[in-house]
Amino acid sequence: MSTSPVSPAATRATSAQATAESFFDAYRRRDVEAMVDLCADNAKFRYVPFEVWARQRVVRGDGQVCTVGKAIWTTLIDAFPDLSNSVTSVRGDEDGNVAVEVSIGGTQARDFGVIASRGGHYDLPHLFLLHVDGDGFIDDIVAYWDSADWQKQLDWLEVD
């Protein structure tokens, strides 16, 4: 059986995309430990829209997967116990960068941050930008979404 030649660059891109897809498979199963296991020990984490404005400071969703990321995912799944996702596109490059467009949604069962639970359901497009290192672990996660759309779907209309 012959095999078609595959360039190392294509292999890196394909492998990184597969890791990204495994991450969202784990997220769909709401398996936070599996999500974390796909990440490097000191993987960076940044949820861009996540910011809580208190009187004296702004708390941002910025830090490491093992601390901030894991806590946010756990809290989110607790608040939305049927949380799921549907990946719509996965694109990668030869340096391990991956862009994933994914719709994430769920039904609210508990308060989440300032968003009081009214039992609402949301579905929200997200863009995740991941970086997968040479060992196949995700070492950087950045995500974008629109919290205005999210809050409106959950009937929470205060900007702050």
Partner: protein, 145 residues
């Protein structure tokens, strides 16, 4: 040219508000999806309207590219930060001359002629409203001083 340089040119046009120059980067019928605004259409129509509104509201706009990579299917993926001072109403938010900074991510699909065929933008409109003093999502024009 390459997808990377096309993207760099696109963000230079975003900063200068030069919609005409953007049109020179586009393939015929190039599409746009401005996800937070729920806007889909053509770059010549809806896309140009957004660029024009942005340029009019923030005449001192700066666009800083923080990350840019090109995927195997020739899509340029970029994280940028917009910085500016509001000088006119913007997307329903009245002008209070507030400083505005907003992180965005864009996907520009580029064809083999180095023309952009599709533009997709992601950002948090709630952050934009917060910067502009909007207090409620159902009353965008009512702002806090």
């Amino acid at each position: 040219m390459s997808a990377r340089s096309v993207a760099q040119e696109f963000f230079a046009c975003l900063q200068s508000g030069d919609a005409d120059k953007v049109s020179g980067l586009l393939a015929s019928g190039a599409t746009v999806a401005l996800v937070p605004l729920g806007v889909t259409g053509t770059m010549a129509g809806e896309g140009a309207a957004y660029l024009q509104a942005l340029a009019e509201a923030f005449p001192d706009l700066m666009v800083r590219t923080r990350r840019l990579f090109v995927t195997a299917d020739n899509a340029a993926v970029a994280e940028v930060t917009l910085d500016g001072t509001q000088a006119a109403d913007f997307l329903g938010a009245v002008n209070q001359e507030k400083h505005f900074d907003l992180d965005q991510a864009w996907i520009l699909q580029v064809d083999d002629q180095d023309r952009i065929t599709a533009v997709t933008g992601y950002w948090c409109q709630n952050q934009a409203y917060r910067r502009l003093g909007v207090k409620r999502l159902d009353k965008i024009s009512i702002t806090a001083r």
